[in-house]
């Protein structure tokens, strides 16, 4: 048995890293168990000529395809959107596109403003100082003055517009619609030991240069220097509880597959919206027969993705193509509710630079735009470097039938039951997608694009795993309270995306990390009364 620690964090990704760093100043003994390993930038795909092909093997976004030893299988057969993630130190921040918007103030008041779902127990103002702290720790590039957001000052200047951004800007101005340089977790100047981005253009499957802010190179070096221990290749099987109903520690499998017990005073879950309910549902006992922290029976329910679509076409002007970070601009023109549109809530457009030439050919062929045979060459040469693409990220509303449960058959390599996803895109979101795709087509038409085509939904687009252990003041309607503590187990906290009450319509990583910092701060404020 290991020596007892004060705080045990499970998962080292976006939220686990942030909470570890923040709590380190308490000088408590803090341990993080991570099922993956430290990654090496020299192993990342963009070091090699085969960088595009590796997206379909060891750097596939789906753990079911990737099948690294650190991955666990997910039965997502009953979902039109497949779960994508990465399991390593840094978690899915190793494999994300670093598009880094905040949730908007209205996202925290959905019930009050629009009469749907539930309000959060906290608001934008509560999180504002933690957004700023997280921007500073992460190193965010962007441009102050966006009229779609409350004022904030990203610490670095925005990513370059390039040819693609300029074309999009002209087009959006023509339509009179909002656009703005994205907040991005990508360095554009020297920042905390990171060099400014050199536009490798293959950001999502890990940044070989280290300009992209994954937490293995942002929070973790600081947390470890401050005394936090990070133990890798350790997969937690279950959380144990004592006769008083408090968590006592965890059972995990170490790098050699040996079962270990790690006792702890406080346990913090940071395993994302699938991994956290999976582990808690696996932590059953006589006192907690339906899983830990599940007296509300809401654990695993209300799973939200952001159903995604793309509208693309080919323009006459040369675009940036595979050069530069894929995402550089957003539009929040249709973010806030307008009931005349036939749906509630909204979405954001994300404008993409495009992919490597092999991926472009593959996608064009798959979309029926690129012929086989003699005509292949002429057709493709007119396409290369001319694609303009509009990504659509829609808000997903919580619905209890969308859920994570334990698969009765599928297990990971340690024999731990795997998660099963049951999910359907809701009616409101489908109406939103209809509307958004039409607006996307208007953008492409205004740009004089040809061969306009749509992908709906993006199947391997389940990046954002939210809502499966929601926060709230009512223990019957939520899993954790307004500062992340389980209603049922007073030394168990959750800091990842599973505590989102609603999803907003933007990428959540920035808000997940701000939440983790806010919860860490709340814990620090209450150290003497943490379990009251």
């Amino acid at each position: 048995m290991h020596e007892k620690v004060d705080v045990l964090i499970i998962g080292s990704g976006a939220s686990g890293a942030a909470v570890a760093w923040s709590l380190a100043e308490t000088k408590m003994r803090i341990l993080c168990l991570e099922q993956g390993e430290w990654m090496k930038q020299s192993d990342y795909p963009s070091n090699g000529r085969d960088y595009e092909a590796r997206v379909f093997s060891d750097y596939a976004t789906s753990p079911n395809i990737r099948q690294r030893p650190s991955d666990y299988p997910i039965n997502d057969d009953n979902s039109p959107i497949k779960v994508v993630n990465f399991n390593a130190v840094g978690g899915s921040t190793v494999m994300y596109t670093a598009h880094y918007p905040r949730l908007h103030p209205s996202d925290f008041r959905v019930r009050s403003l629009d009469g749907v779902a539930d309000d959060w127990p906290i608001d934008y103002t509560t999180l504002e100082p933690f957004f700023a702290e997280n921007d500073r720790m992460t190193g965010v590039s962007g441009l102050a003055g966006d009229p779609a957001y409350p004022t904030h000052e990203p610490p670095m200047p925005p990513l370059p517009l390039g040819k693609t951004g300029a074309k999009i800007g002209k087009t959006m101005n023509q339509l009179g619609w909002h656009w703005w340089p994205s907040d991005s977790a990508i360095a554009t100047t020297e920042y905390d030991g990171r060099a400014p981005c050199i536009n490798l253009g293959h950001c999502t499957p890990a940044c070989a240069q280290g300009a992209k802010a994954s937490t293995d190179i942002t929070y973790w070096p600081h947390a470890i220097r401050a005394g936090v221990e990070l133990r890798t290749s350790c997969r937690v099987r279950e959380i144990l509880t004592g006769p008083d109903g408090m968590a006592t520690g965890v059972i995990y499998y170490d790098i050699d597959g040996i079962e270990q017990f790690q006792p702890a005073e406080v346990i913090i879950m940071a395993c994302n919206g699938v991994g956290t309910p999976r582990l808690l549902l696996n932590s059953t006992s006589g006192r907690f027969p339906n899983g830990l922290a599940n007296s509300s029976c809401l654990l695993g329910k209300n799973l939200m993705f952001h159903p995604w679509a793309h509208v693309s076409g080919y323009v006459d002007e040369p675009m940036d193509g595979h050069r530069g970070p894929p995402l550089c601009l957003w539009s929040q023109e249709f973010y806030e509710t307008d009931r005349s549109r036939g749906f509630l809530r909204g979405f954001n457009f994300q404008f993409n630079r495009t992919m490597g030439v092999g991926t472009e050919a593959m996608n064009a062929e798959a979309n029926g735009l690129l012929p086989w045979g003699e005509a292949h060459h002429d057709t493709f040469r007119a396409m290369v470097g001319h694609r303009m693409s509009v990504g659509i990220c829609t808000e997903d509303l919580p619905e209890e039938h969308n859920r994570v449960t334990l698969d009765p058959v599928l297990k990971d390599r340690h024999g731990i039951p795997a998660p099963r996803i049951d999910y359907a895109i809701g009616d409101n979101t489908n109406r939103m997608l209809d509307f958004a795709i039409e607006r996307g087509k208007e953008i492409l038409a205004a740009a004089n694009a040809r061969q306009v085509h749509t992908v709906r939904p993006v199947v391997y687009g389940g990046w954002h795993l939210l809502g499966t252990a929601r926060m709230g003041n009512d223990p019957e309607r939520s899993v954790v309270n307004s500062w992340g503590r389980s209603h049922d187990v007073k030394n168990l906290f959750i800091v990842d995306g599973s505590i989102f009450v609603t999803s907003g319509g933007v990428n959540p990583t920035c808000t997940i990390q701000a939440l983790a910092l806010y919860i860490a701060d709340a814990m620090k404020q209450r150290l003497a009364t943490l379990f009251d």
Partner: protein
């Protein structure tokens, strides 16, 4: 996983099909996907997709009824078109491997005016662009909803 390597007949069909998908072009002075170097890369790249590629080739053989190379040119094209229309995921996977290997070849990349290299460490130049384009948006009043 545990995929078995393709047998000689499957390799022959795959090579013929690759050449039908992307034939050589005298106009652009590029080889086809059945070029020896490119095709070797295709075979080496099948990896964990072996069973899926084998399923695509089985469907191909069902349609062709004989080694693809033994058919006349018109019939080969006809079979390939039918395979593309009806082959589903296995054919998509096979095509993906062909595309990614073809558009990695040095001769092909150079003919497209692209440097045949990994993105790192050289990276790319992306111009700043005309930031004055943002002026109409800068003067817009805040339109986020107040909520407290």
């Amino acid at each position: 996983m545990n995929e078995q390597p393709l047998n000689d007949a499957e390799i022959a069909d795959l090579r013929c099909l690759a050449g039908l998908i992307i034939p050589a072009s005298a106009k652009y002075d590029v080889p086809g996907a059945d070029d020896p170097v490119i095709f070797a890369d295709i075979v080496n790249s099948i990896g964990r997709d072996g069973n899926t590629v084998r399923a695509a080739l089985a469907a191909l053989r069902t349609l062709s009824g004989a080694p693809l190379a033994d058919l006349d040119a018109g019939r080969r094209t006809e079979v390939a078109a039918k395979l593309r229309a009806e082959g589903g995921v296995p054919v998509s996977v096979l095509t993906r491997i062909v595309m990614l290997c073809y558009y990695c070849d040095e001769r092909v990349m150079l003919s497209l005016g692209l440097e045949p290299r990994a993105p790192f460490p050289k990276g790319h130049i992306v111009e700043q662009g005309d930031w004055s384009l943002l002026d109409p948006v800068r003067v817009r009043k805040p339109f986020w909803r107040q909520a407290s």
